[in-house]
């Protein structure tokens, strides 16, 4: 038990950084930025009014609470929309992330995926990035085209307000430890940018198609999807020695909750003891690399009605140094900034709470 806590509410914190604030990019936002030949191919004046650009991102066809109207998500298509959300969440800085482009790894045309990433990045910079107002962003890279991803990082990595590279990691194939992705890691490391990894539940349709079809519901897909895809990618990355090859590179693992993290670290160490020959590059325990180079964002915080669970789980992976607050606003399972703080008060020191809400992010991202 910590003796006294001066931090009672969000406004008591020095800086609140939201590590996952989503834009809701639409066809009319992205089309003007698409490079040739796709601009000529896609800039037609007639077409179906669903927005044909979104049809280029395979969709899972989920029946969700948004579909039924039981969740009424805000839209975020202007800096004013961002400011309104930040005011509600009481945050000082937002790391802006995409929505449609969470499905970028599923786009069924590699060159088009590159063009879509490029267009999103131009749109992001043109429309939103404003460090003086706390609006920061990450360069989206197309997993299908690692070299193009590296070029995007090199092109925008020095721009004011670009503070990370963003890999839409859901649906990637092969997993992210494969050597084909090394241009992305090399470029990010050389620009001093951490690599954010963010899945979407529906991207299961590509890398776990059998399970996706068999699950047959949004709920049953969403429960395992985020942590499951992260575990596969992290397993691949650490076994292949990515953190050893890029020792200055940090990774930010998003939107999978917290309980799986201490489980995964301990399981990896236990397995490694008997299977070390599969990972000869490693110089220390797999969990040491996770502690040193991997950071985790908080949303969606499971067990928020169980303070003992939250305290215990965070202690099991040094959450006071490795966890960073994220809201996921305006998506349907976003967390208000209050949600985690209620669980930390009285259990964690003021320094740890400040770390989780902003100080760690200030050091991990390239602010």
């Amino acid at each position: 038990m910590v003796e006294t806590s001066k931090i009672q509410r969000i406004s008591d914190l020095d800086t609140v950084v939201d590590c996952d604030f989503h834009l809701v990019e639409r066809q009319s936002d992205i089309l003007p930025y698409i490079e040739e030949p796709f601009n000529k191919m896609l800039s037609r004046s007639t077409g179906d009014d669903y927005g044909y650009l979104s049809n280029l991102y395979p969709t899972p066809g989920f029946l969700t609470p948004v579909t039924t109207g039981k969740v009424q998500s805000e839209t975020v298509r202007s800096p004013e929309d961002v400011r309104r959300g930040m005011e509600m969440l009481e945050t000082d800085r937002s790391v802006l992330t995409p929505t449609q482009n969470l499905y970028l790894a599923c786009v069924h045309h590699d060159e088009l995926a590159g063009a879509l990433a490029g267009a999103y990045n131009e749109y992001l910079l043109d429309t939103f990035i404003e460090p003086n107002e706390g609006l920061y962003g990450a360069v989206v890279v197309p997993p299908q085209k690692p070299q193009r991803g590296a070029e995007e990082i090199e092109k925008h990595g020095d721009e004011d307000g670009i503070i990370a590279a963003f890999v839409p990691s859901g649906g990637v194939h092969p997993p992210l430890g494969n050597s084909q992705y090394e241009p992305i890691y090399e470029a990010a490391e050389s620009k001093g940018l951490p690599v954010m990894m963010h899945n979407a539940a529906g991207t299961m349709m590509k890398n776990f198609p059998q399970q996706f079809h068999g699950l047959d519901r949004y709920l049953s897909t969403h429960v395992p999807a985020h942590a499951m895809q992260h575990m596969v990618n992290l397993s691949s990355m650490i076994t292949q020695g990515i953190p050893v090859k890029y020792p200055e590179l940090n990774f930010i693992i998003q939107e999978a909750g917290i309980g799986w993290i201490p489980y995964f670290m301990r399981r990896f160490d236990a397995e490694y003891s008997g299977k070390r020959e599969d990972a000869p590059m490693l110089n220390q325990q797999p969990s040491d690399y996770i502690r040193d180079q991997f950071y985790f964002t908080s949303q969606p915080l499971e067990g928020a009605d169980d303070p003992a669970y939250i305290e215990h789980t965070l202690r099991l992976f040094d959450g006071g140094n490795n966890l960073m607050f994220s809201s996921d606003y305006p998506h349907l399972d976003f967390d208000h900034s209050d949600e985690l703080l209620k669980m930390l008060r009285g259990k964690f020191s003021d320094e740890e709470i400040e770390n989780i809400y902003g100080q760690t992010a200030l050091s991990v991202y390239d602010f």
Binding site: G69, K70, V71, D335
Partner: protein
């Protein structure tokens, strides 16, 4: 019945006609936002503050909900009796304030009094 409770006060919310045409009215009473729902002429008052993360629970979709019948076939029940918090979709029975997925979570409810076509909440 309200006249017998000496420690509670009545607060006007809306006329019955207004509620009939709007299905719900949200009023601020003594610093609390309280929604009054009209379910087939019966009135129910529920706090407009979600017990999950503080969203405006009573401002969301008022509808029914999916359930299963005795043969475990999908059916749709409680039409007009279920409000969903627009932030995260938590469903609440407006008659009881109970969360449909777990009755451990309950929105506070309040007594409603109708007097001369005027609907009041008692606090």
């Amino acid at each position: 019945m309200s006249d017998t409770t000496t420690d509670k006060k009545r607060y006007f919310v809306a006329s019955t006609a207004e509620l009939e045409s709007n299905d719900r009215v949200i009023a601020e009473i003594q610093g609390r936002e309280i929604a009054v729902f009209d379910v087939d002429g019966e009135y129910y008052a529920v706090a407009n503050y979600c017990v999950h993360q503080g969203g405006p629970a009573c401002e969301g979709l008022l509808s029914g909900t999916v359930t299963v019948n005795e043969e475990m076939e999908l059916s749709y029940d409680q039409e007009g009796e279920v409000v969903a918090c627009p932030w995260h979709g938590w469903e609440f029975d407006v008659k009881t304030g109970e969360h449909l997925a777990s009755s451990e979570y309950v929105l506070p409810t309040y007594d409603v009094v109708v007097d001369d076509c005027k609907v009041y909440v008692e606090l």
